[in-house]
Amino acid sequence: MRVATSSFYQTIQQGLLNRASELKKIDEKVSSGKNFNRPSDDPISLVSTLGFRTALSRVEQYSQNLETGTLWLSSSETAISQASELAKQAEDIANQIGYGNQTNEIMTQAAAEVSHLLDQAISLGNTQLAGKYIFAGYRTSTAPFSKTIVGGVETVVYNGDTNDFQIQVGTNEQLTVGKNGQTVFVDSNLFAALENLKQAITNNDLPSIRQQAQILQGTEDSLGTQLAEVGIRQNRLKDKQDLLAKWIVNIQDQISNLENVNYNKAILELQQQQTAYEIALESAAKISQLNLLNFMS
């Protein structure tokens, strides 16, 4: 085929431009470390990456939610175990004085002690986490337990509601991390038993004191059950946390597989393109020297 002189140069030019553009592409990959730097580079992988990114963002958020959950549960745990301890102390007092022959002094001291325990129990019920009452149901900004005088008798009232606090730990998956004070304390008779015990000591009513000791035993059992439940939820939360941590690593791997350049491959490719470019330059230099004039005198 006849070849026009301009075709030579055109071919050289086009060849060099193509090589240069290939070189730029692979150089961009190597220097950015990313397989795609714009949607058109690899639309399908990009869509997958975006999907994984969303998943990662969610899972990281769930993991953060679990931290909140952990705080709630450990605060609950401390409060409930202390309350249980407190019930035990009250029971011991009741058992010590419930069988008669105590001086008035001792009885007065016992009444004061029980009264003190009651105040402590109220303060446990009013446990706060970052300024929020955790045993108040949804009424987190109101102290759930307070004392009022009902019929001349000092009584503890519950101001909260019966809702539990839940956090999001997965898609459509919520976990209760805060039980309301009604379930935890009121239903376990902690306050009623302490109030009654205090009243009975004041009245020197020995049978009632012994009865309250029994009730307090029930309270301890009930609080123990609550504590076990909190423990179970803490375990669940920890399992979940471990699972999410694995997930996060997994998703990050997936993203990195799609997104990050395999340097071994890329460098090899870069070298190939470099060689190709050099060859093209060399051939350009050689071809442009070919000329009939060189051989004419």
Binding site: V3, A4, T11, S40, D41, P43, G51, T54, A136, Y138
Partner: protein
């Protein structure tokens, strides 16, 4: 006839002819780098004398004409492919910009903003009374709104930019049309005596190629050498020395100033590319982005409106509540005889049912008499509306709150009633503009306490996070979102309902843009390679090869030198004759 002077004459023709040969060669060498130049060739023919008896002697050589090596077929193919190449080049350069708007690869696009928005709702659910969490949520929501608006506005600007491109393209077409017509005239004149106007034709071919970069054209050479050019769809551009111009008004392109839009008859080339972008590709993305924003607004607002703020207030919108006109009739229409009526409800109906009742307060014929209708609407609203004699039956008339009704042909009797139940459920809202208008509502903007995280009206329930949990769950909810496909420069707009999360919808949108851009790049490469090959093919016929020209030069040079020797020889012969005594 023969003689020494005869030889001298032959030498004369040879000298002249070889010199012309060198001239043509020189012209070729001079134009080796001229774009569109077609190499030329001197046609030589020997001159025969009328034979006398059996003696035939030639008279020498005649330089008959200069022709150009021109490959009509390849050139036509190149022009066609040039149109396609220019079309994809135009698309690619615009899409390259558009795809940077959706460049979520770097992790800072709308995808990221949306993820953060949903996460902020979860943060709020962890601490529903927290003002920092509420403020952060508003901030994240604001970021997301801005991301939507940024993409939407840039798409619209790019779309509007197309009209400027089209205008400059059109001006170029007009200039080229004029130039081709002028050259046509000069060729007709130059070739009237039978010669070929080689260099004028080269110029014209260049203009034709430039024209085909702008739009798909077809052309035909007439017997007188002039070229008739039309667009592929048949719009006349040049005929002989006549040419026609295009003009632009708004989105319309007119031919020869007739008020008739011919943009659908401009295909291929940059013009075709820009028109496709303006009327098809970009509006489709805008429509889909709007659907996503509209779905987001409606879904979040629906839940938020029914939730309760930190202070126990309700019926607050989170996003600015947009009145999305419904693109279907909405609600049920029933009643006694008011001339068969109908209408549309053009707002998003609030939760619950509400009803309009329309009662006529007089008797009369629709479109002839003046008819007054009274209406009562939700919340004790009421009013009257009048249809006078100029009313055209069937025309929609505004009532209130987005309700429009029409009366059919017929007669209205005093006391006729007509009830319209507007109930949510069958809605198919038109979300166009949503991505542009998405913003925080005035209910919550700057008022973090007004975020409705709770499902309880009791302001003491500060720990109620149920509404926040419900709203964050939207991120994983499969919702039905309309996905538009535009074809035929927006002439055909069809939509299908896509089920999936809002994130997925957006991700697919990004993928679409990547694929369309990639397609433009691939097509551009394809046509570029093809044109390169065709150019080589054309140049193998039409292009100048310097070596060849140099050989030709030597060939003519030696022939010229030989002819000079002829003069020398005849001179000596004449001298010999003269010296005879």
């Amino acid at each position: 006839m023969s003689g020494v002077s005869f030889l001298l004459n032959i030498a004369r023709t040879a000298l002249l002819a070889q010199q012309k040969g060198i001239d043509v060669t020189g012209h070729n060498i001079a134009n080796v780098n001229t774009p569109g130049f077609t190499r030329q060739k001197l046609i030589l023919e020997s001159v025969e004398e009328t034979p006398i008896a059996r003696l035939k002697l030639g008279y020498g050589v005649n330089a008959d004409s200069v022709v150009r090596y021109f490959d009509t077929f390849t050139t036509q193919s190149i022009n066609q492919k040039t149109s396609s190449l220019s079309e994809y080049e135009a698309k690619k350069s615009v899409l390259d910009y558009v795809q940077t708007l959706f460049n979520d690869g770097a992790g800072n696009g709308l995808n990221e903003a949306t993820n953060e928005f949903w996460n902020a709702w979860q943060d709020l659910s962890n601490n529903p009374s927290g003002i920092p969490e509420r403020t952060a949520l508003l901030q994240k929501a604001q970021n997301m709104c801005q991301a939507f608006q940024m993409i939407r506005n840039n798409l619209t600007q790019t779309k509007d930019q197309m009209n400027f491109n089209l205008k400059s393209g059109m001006e170029e077409i007009n200039t080229l049309n004029e130039q081709i017509a002028k050259i046509n005239q000069r060729i007709i004149e130059a070739e009237a005596n039978g010669t070929t106007a080689n260099d004028l034709r080269d110029q014209r071919d260049n203009f034709v190629e430039e024209l085909s970069q702008l739009t798909d054209i077809t052309y035909l050479e007439k017997a007188n050498g002039s070229l008739t050019v039309t667009t592929k769809a048949g719009i006349a551009l040049v005929d002989g020395n006549l040419f026609w111009t295009l003009s632009q008004q708004g989105d319309h392109i007119y031919w020869n100033n007739s008020q008739n839009d011919i943009s659908d008859q401009l295909t291929g080339g940059k013009m075709g590319g820009w028109l496709d972008l303006r009327d098809n590709i970009l509006p489709q993305y805008i429509a889909n982005l709007d659907e996503l924003a509209g779905t987001m607004i409606d879904q979040v607002n629906d839940l938020h409106y029914n939730g309760y703020t930190l202070d126990g207030a309700t019926n607050k919108y989170f996003f600015n509540h947009l009145n999305f006109a419904s693109d279907v009739a909405y609600g049920t229409w029933s009643g006694t005889s008011i001339a068969s009526s109908g209408g549309v409800y053009a707002n998003t109906a609030p939760a619950g049912t509400f009803q309009f009742t329309v009662t006529s307060a007089g008797t009369g014929k629709v479109g002839t008499d003046t008819i007054t209708l009274g209406w009562t609407g939700p919340g004790g609203t009421s009013g009257t509306m009048t249809f006078d004699s100029s009313y055209v039956p069937g025309t929609l008339v505004d009532v209130s709150q987005g309700l429009q009704i029409s009366l059919g042909n017929g007669t209205v009797v005093n006391g006729d009633t007509f009830a319209i139940d507007v109930s949510p459920g069958a809605s198919c809202p038109d979300y166009s503009g949503a991505a542009r208008d998405i913003a925080l509502s005035s209910d919550v903007d700057g008022l973090p306490r007004n975020i409705a995280a709770s499902t309880s009206s009791n302001p003491q329930d500060t720990g109620n996070n149920q509404n926040a949990l419900a709203i964050q769950a939207l991120s994983d909810e499969q919702v039905s979102t309309k996905k538009w496909t535009y074809q035929n420069r927006g002439g055909i707009q069809s939509s299908t309902n896509q089920f999936g999360t809002m994130d997925e919808y957006y991700n697919v949108l990004v993928g679409d843009i990547g694929m369309v851009t990639d397609e433009a790049v691939q097509n551009q490469n394809f046509y570029e390679t093809m044109i390169n090959q065709l150019n080589d093919l054309r140049d193998s016929v039409s292009g100048v090869n310097l070596e060849e020209e140099m050989i030709n030069m030597m060939k003519y040079q030696y022939a010229f030198m030989a002819a000079s020797k002829l003069v020398n020889a005849s001179d000596q012969m004449l001298q010999a004759l003269m010296q005879m005594q």
